[in-house]
Amino acid sequence: MSDENPSCPTPSGGEPTSTRSAAPMWIIVTTLVLLFLGGYYFDQHSGWFNPKVYAPYPNAEALGAYQPMSGDAAALARGKTVYESVCGICHGADGLGKPGQAPALAASELVITKGFNRLAHIPLAGLNGPIKVCGKDWSMAMAAMGAALPDDDLAAVLTYIRGAWGNKAGPVTGDDIKKIRAEIGKAPQVMTGDMMMKLPE
């Protein structure tokens, strides 16, 4: 290249040269604003830091699943499990009953009673013959499905069916069940609907 003739004409505008032109201002400003907003958002959430959560628990929800429940929450959860494994087969997990198998418990006038003496007698002694549930006549038989359950579990089930699916009746305790079980005695007699209605509510 050294033998290039300097008198040859060069293209108009001369050789391209590099200049110090900066990136457009608006790109810089937008980037900074976005970075600031991102940082602010991250900071507001403390980087999703939770001082109560340690490895190996991935998040608060997983940790919550390992908390032993106490009091009402525990009884209700217990009641749901026992209901679903013992009563739900016939009465349905949704409490709506199953045609030809068992009547509804949701909104049933036998469940949402003020007292629970009659109600507790049903799973403890069994129920046989004609009854009326939500305006429908039933005449089937239910064995003493709750007689084998411990007091606390039966209480939890009854509390559950009195409070689930829109039912709004009060809770039942293990001691209540103990008393009623003692009244019924060792060899329960299966009740008919009429017998049940004669019991105090």
């Binding site: 403390s46 699943a65 908390q67």
Partner: protein
């Protein structure tokens, strides 16, 4: 010096940003930590130390114990156990047959070998752990099935990890709340000796602690822990021997007519060691205390 001011500003911004990230933010997040509540009880955690134990922390620090001992229990996982606590009307044999009939359940497929092994050579001794799993659905399925046939069982949360299971150093991992009253915190970084987070539960006898500090080999034959004799005083026995005199084995005793008694520093150090307990379940580190199984 033209660039001096910009170098200063750059250094200031860099150091300031790391100070914000490493000091300010953590102290905003954790600095306000307060006592928490022990799970399923109204007790608070941790308990404020006694005066002696608080001073003992300074002795611990001055003696360099943290060079060989940690105060941090690690946990690598958590499992839930189903333990049978009552067979109800069932006999061990028909209960075993019932459990085997559950093996067709899709949730239990992975666990059939382990469950079968747990029933091997079992003649009805209770409590018996049937199933250990990290999957709570599996555990509650098993517990519900047992419930339905009238068998009593308990589900227990069991933290996993070598510190807890193999070495038996604690019941659960250490969490920030455990250190609330430690000033400064003695985490330690090297484990020439065992972790001490729970030594107050493991070795609750002050005299043992003194013997061990005075002559580690007198209680642990192969111990490589240095002796801390300067925390003790050797003196002639008075009219009445001191009730706190160390009960040393003959090889380590100072000789006839002499007794070894702890100086105040040794008392404080022992009080501090006995105050080291991490044996209660907390929200952030749940477990089921062993006493729950009868």
């Amino acid at each position: 010096m033209k660039t001096g001011i910009s170098i200063f500003i750059a250094a200031f911004v860099a150091l300031g940003a790391s100070w914000c990230g490493l000091v300010l933010a953590p102290s905003l997040q954790l600095g306000g930590a307060k006592e928490t509540v022990v799970l399923q009880s109204a007790d608070h955690w941790p308990q404020q130390r006694t005066g002696d134990a608080t001073l003992g922390l300074q002795v611990y620090r001055a003696s360099g114990c943290a060079a060989c001992h940690t105060e941090q229990i690690r946990q690598t996982g958590v499992a839930t156990e189903v333990t049978v606590t009552g067979l109800g009307a069932h006999q061990p044999d028909d209960f075993g047959a019932f459990v085997k009939s559950l093996f067709i359940l899709p949730t239990l497929v992975e666990y059939t070998n382990a469950i079968a092994a747990s029933l091997q050579g079992w003649h009805g001794e209770l409590p018996r752990t049937l199933l250990t799993s990290a999957n709570q659905q599996v555990v509650s399925e098993m517990a519900n099935r047992l419930k339905a046939i009238g068998v009593k069982s308990e589900t227990r949360i069991v933290p996993q990890g070598d510190d807890i299971i193999a070495r038996g150093w604690g019941y659960r991992q250490s969490v920030a709340a455990d250190y609330l009253y430690d000033q400064p915190v003695q985490l330690g970084g090297l484990r020439a000796g065992p972790d001490l987070s729970n030594i107050g539960v493991r070795m609750p006898d002050a005299n043992w602690q003194w013997q061990h500090l005075y002559a580690p080999k007198s209680v642990v034959k192969t111990s490589t822990m240095p002796s801390f004799k300067f925390l003790f005083e050797v003196r002639p026995v008075g009219h009445v021997p001191s009730p706190d005199a160390l009960k040393l084995a003959a090889d380590f005793a100072p000789g006839p007519g002499l007794e070894v008694v702890p100086k105040p520093e040794a008392r404080q150090l022992a009080a501090y060691l006995l105050s080291l307990k991490a044996n209660v379940p907390l929200y952030e580190a749940p477990f089921t205390p062993v006493t729950a199984v009868k």
